[in-house]
């Protein structure tokens, strides 16, 4: 089936016709009368309060839900939980999401330009049959499963891996293909694990390309507090709410953060502000790093980054002197072609500010354990699953060869290579795509190519509560419950409660049930013997999917030396990374300029995708109260640039890049860097991902360069 799918024009419900309605009219009349009587004497429904966890994002705020019968009427923060009553607007809109009239009610099967409602049995049987066909023709690895952010840390991801292995495909990709994992890799390559600052132990806190007010609002008071009780340094092209409070705000030109970090290292190394004892005893590669930093004097970097020389010097001294210093880095520095190396540069800069014997100021830093040397590095995922373990898969996932460091750290496929596998059969054909709670065609890089790829697929199945852009292009849409309707999983992902906050709506199933039943329809039921998610979670687990050849082990320690502190190859903090060197990359955090540089035709650096207060990426766009706060996307532009382009505040403008064009409203603000245009992502009406080069990815992680494109702003109608 290779002819392209026509756009969906109709949804045919399994419903009643006018004729059947008339047939049942007499009965209906009587019951309507009874209902009328009932309404007269109607009492208010009993209100019940249950405790639950909000799983719209990774914070997992504790919530108290108020239900009336089977309706969720109110959700508020639970003061008794670890999040102390915090709730953002997305969490507060939970009842609207659960009871939205936009929900998919029954499984939908495509029939030309129509979606027909079908029963679960029929949908699963038909999907299984077509998956079998794909498996027979192209092999099991031709199935890719992708999952999105709602599930990335959800325990269900483990079962998705299990499903893939049972089917025989290595290709499970999560949103980790373009979110957060570059940061995890950059830090782990340096100190051996991901970490985050422990706010109360840090004296100087640096927010680098992060805006917790919008992205992680629960901690914004802890960050804000640093401005008065310590030092707060913000590195961001936009003057964010926290930047306005900060001790120093470095308004860096997007994409030059690595150079800025190197210039600060230049100052710290040149003025000997680092602790020599710490550097000599706990780190490797200092000479190499010093030679690199030598090439980045602040005077030269100032022009590049547009941060004044004096400020670079001043902040570098502040970071080194006002220790302990820690950096909170965000996606702002990951979404570049030099993303991992930029994170490395920032982590190394932080390392230069450390003192020997200093109290650990970061959480989640590598735990040193016995048997450390027999194990793979601490930052690596150690998959485990319940018995019976499905037979191992010998085929390698997408990205295994081209982005080996990504695979080593994340043990999953690099989803950004999907279009290549579909359109060019590289490294092998992928012909079926199962999307669980993701909107890949809108959020992943290279939207146009993905759309082309979707048309070439033999089978596209989406599991989602809503009819997303991706769902509308699918062959089958399976309605999943929201987490509020599924059994509550506690914030630490361990305990599963008996029930959810409200019963499942319409004919939706919890995602685990969809997955288990699909496995059963495929004849893989022996690997999914559980009748509930709780039972599945409580089953004891054994390690699987080991890949000893690909997993680096630390060097054995010299006889009589102290146990290592860092989970790196050398056991030390790696200013020069051994693993990167092994895979042919620069060991020290070099800065490479983005390949696309502004010129006369495209004078602005294009930054897309910073989180806005409303929405989480492509989610919540159909939720009225969330949408009301940001009815349409807005591109931020500096007044100077707006004048040059001849556009006015509030006007609709076109953002034009060498790769595409979208239209949105213009917001003129002096808070944004004069060289940058900043636009939000996740809008179907204005998908900014088409503005970026579809295949220009970070060579280490495969991350897209969403924060360093180029563009110009055009008036829609010439005056």
């Amino acid at each position: 089936m290779t002819e392209p799918r026509p756009p969906v024009r109709f949804i045919q419900r399994l419903g009643i016709s006018r004729r059947t309605l008339l047939k049942v009219a007499p009965v209906a009349g009587v019951s309507a009368a009874a209902l009328g009587l009932g309404l007269v004497g109607r009492q208010a429904l009993e209100r019940k309060r249950t405790h639950g966890v909000c799983r719209f994002c990774l914070v997992h705020c504790g919530v108290t839900a108020t239900t009336e019968g089977t309706r969720l009427v109110r959700v508020e923060g639970d003061v008794q939980s670890k999040t102390k009553g915090f709730l953002c607007l997305n969490g507060h809109a939970m009842p609207e999401v659960v009871h939205s009239d936009r929900r998919v009610r029954m499984p939908l099967a495509r029939d030309g330009d129509t979606f027909r409602e079908v029963s679960w049995e029929e949908a699963l049987a038909r999907i299984a049959e077509r998956l079998e066909k794909v498996r027979r023709k192209y092999g099991p690895e031709a199935l890719m499963v992708q999952t999105g952010w709602p599930l990335v840390r959800h325990p269900l991801v483990g079962f998705l891996h299990r499903f893939c292995q049972a089917f025989g495909t290595p290709n499970l990709a999560t949103v980790g293909s373009f979110c957060e994992t570059a940061g995890r890799m950059g830090k782990a390559l340096t100190v051996g694990s991901k970490y985050s600052p422990s706010f109360h132990r840090v004296r100087t806190l640096v927010l680098w390309g992060a805006n917790p007010t919008h992205a992680l609002p629960i901690v914004s008071h802890l960050v804000a507090e640093k401005a008065s009780t310590g030092k707060l340094v913000v590195v961001d092209p936009v003057r964010t709410e926290l930047a306005a409070l900060a001790t120093e705000h470095l308004r860096v030109r997007p994409g030059t953060d690595g150079a800025l970090a190197l210039a600060m290292m230049h100052v710290i190394i040149g003025e000997r502000l680092y602790d020599r004892t710490f550097i000599e005893s706990e780190t490797v590669g200092f000479e190499e790093l010093a030679a690199l930093a030598e090439r980045y004097p602040p005077g030269a970097v100032a022009g590049l980054t547009t941060v004044p020389t004096e400020q670079i010097v001043r902040v570098a001294r502040l970071l080194a002197r006002e220790a302990p210093t820690s950096v909170w880095e965000g996606l702002g520095i990951e979404h570049h072609e030099n993303g991992v190396q930029t994170v490395r540069a920032v982590a190394v800069l932080e390392a230069l500010c450390r003192r020997s014997g200093q109290e650990e100021v970061n959480d989640l830093l590598t735990p040193v354990r016995t048997g450390f040397y027999d194990q793979p590095l601490p930052a690596l995922v150690r998959p485990a699953t319940a018995e019976p373990v499905p037979p191992p898969v010998t085929v390698r996932p997408l990205g295994y060869g081209s982005y080996p460091v990504f695979e080593i750290f994340n043990r999953e496929a690099q989803g950004n290579l999907l279009a290549d596998a579909v359109l060019r059969n590289e490294p092998y054909p992928v012909r079926a795509l199962l999307i669980v709670a993701a909107n890949t065609l809108l959020t992943a890089p290279g939207s146009e190519r993905l759309r082309e790829a979707a048309a070439r697929l033999s089978l596209l199945v989406t599991v989602d509560p809503f009819l997303t852009l991706t769902a509308r292009l699918s062959d089958f849409v399976l309605p999943a419950c929201t987490f509020a309707e599924a059994p509550t999983v506690d914030a630490s992902d361990e305990e599963v409660a008996q029930g959810g906050m409200v019963p499942p709506q319409h004919h939706a199933w919890p995602d685990w049930k969809v997955l288990f039943e699909l496995a059963r329809a495929l004849g893989l039921g022996r690997y999914f013997p559980w009748s509930s998610f709780r039972e599945a979670m409580e089953a004891p687990r054994t390690p699987y999917r080991a890949d000893p050849d690909h997993q680096p082990r630390p060097d054995p320690p010299a006889a009589g030396s102290a146990p290592p502190r860092f989970g790196t190859l050398s056991g030390k903090l790696e200013l020069a990374s051994g693993l990167l060197r092994r895979h042919g990359f620069d060991a020290v955090p070099v800065w490479t300029p983005p390949q696309e540089q502004p010129d006369a035709a495209y004078p602005l650096v294009l930054v897309t995708g910073p989180r806005t207060r409303s929405f989480i990426n492509s989610q919540f766009h159909d939720v009225p109260s969330v949408r009301a706060k940001m009815p349409e996307p807005e591109v931020l532009l500096h007044p100077q640039r707006a004048r040059a382009a001849g556009v006015a505040d509030g006007e609709r403008v076109a953002i034009v890049s060498p790769h595409g064009r979208v239209e949105m409203r213009l917001r003129i603000t002096a808070d944004v860097h004069p060289d940058a245009a900043v636009a939000p992502a996740g809008w179907e009406s204005a998908n900014v991902n088409v503005l970026h080069h579809p295949r220009r990815l970070d060579p280490i992680s495969g991350f897209p360069a969403f924060r360093s494109g180029v563009c110009r702003i055009e008036r829609l109608r010439p005056a």
Partner: protein
């Protein structure tokens, strides 16, 4: 009886099922957005229910009464607040609700449903019992109508920038109930 009539009658029965729930306007009830000033609004409104019909969150309600006199719409923000979609002002046939374009700037410039009053004793960040901040996150004018101040990032309301939609009052947790939107009582002046 014709088939058409039967279908119509069935439709009417179905519609009766979704009528607004038994409700009583209290002293703290708000008028819908874009309403004429108190006094003139009551004169202009004919109680046609259209605003309540189009209201997406069903925030606009009517008092339940069997009298034949016209009843006026009200919003109990604590129960369900206005999301400022301005659909009600589009459908109002008498101009009791003055049409306002659903753009944040236009709404901020004209709509004044009430003024926010914060009881700091009850507010979780102010009294130190929690980190809540939900009022800031649900506010359509966060940063201007309410800002987060101090190391605890506690809310501070600015009545002059507030349109009085009541989303903060609705969202304020039951354990606190610290926010109350006081309806505009002043007669005369511009619509709000």
């Amino acid at each position: 009886m014709k088939r058409r009539h039967l279908l119509g009658a069935l439709g009417a029965v179905a519609a009766a099922g979704v009528l607004p729930r038994r409700a009583r306007a209290s002293a703290t009830a708000l008028r819908p957005p874009g309403a004429l000033p108190p006094g003139r609004f009551e004169e202009a409104c004919i109680g046609c229910f259209r605003c309540a019909e189009v209201c997406p969150p069903k925030a606009i309600r009517f008092p339940a009464t069997l009298s034949l006199e016209a009843v006026r719409p009200f919003i109990d923000a604590r129960e369900r607040a206005c999301i400022l979609c301005m659909k009600c002002t589009e459908v109002c046939p008498t101009g009791a609700l003055v049409p306002v374009p659903a753009q944040p700037e236009a709404v901020a410039g004209t709509v004044r449903m009430g003024t926010p009053v914060l009881e700091r004793r009850n507010c979780l960040p102010w009294n130190g019992r929690g980190v809540c901040r939900v009022c800031f996150y649900v506010c359509p004018y966060a940063g201007t109508a309410v800002e987060l101040v101090g190391p605890r990032q506690a809310p501070l309301f600015h009545a002059e920038a507030c349109v009085g939609c009541g989303l903060c009052e609705e969202a304020c947790p039951d354990e606190a109930r610290a926010i109350r939107i006081h309806p505009r009582e002043r007669a005369g002046g511009a619509p709000g």
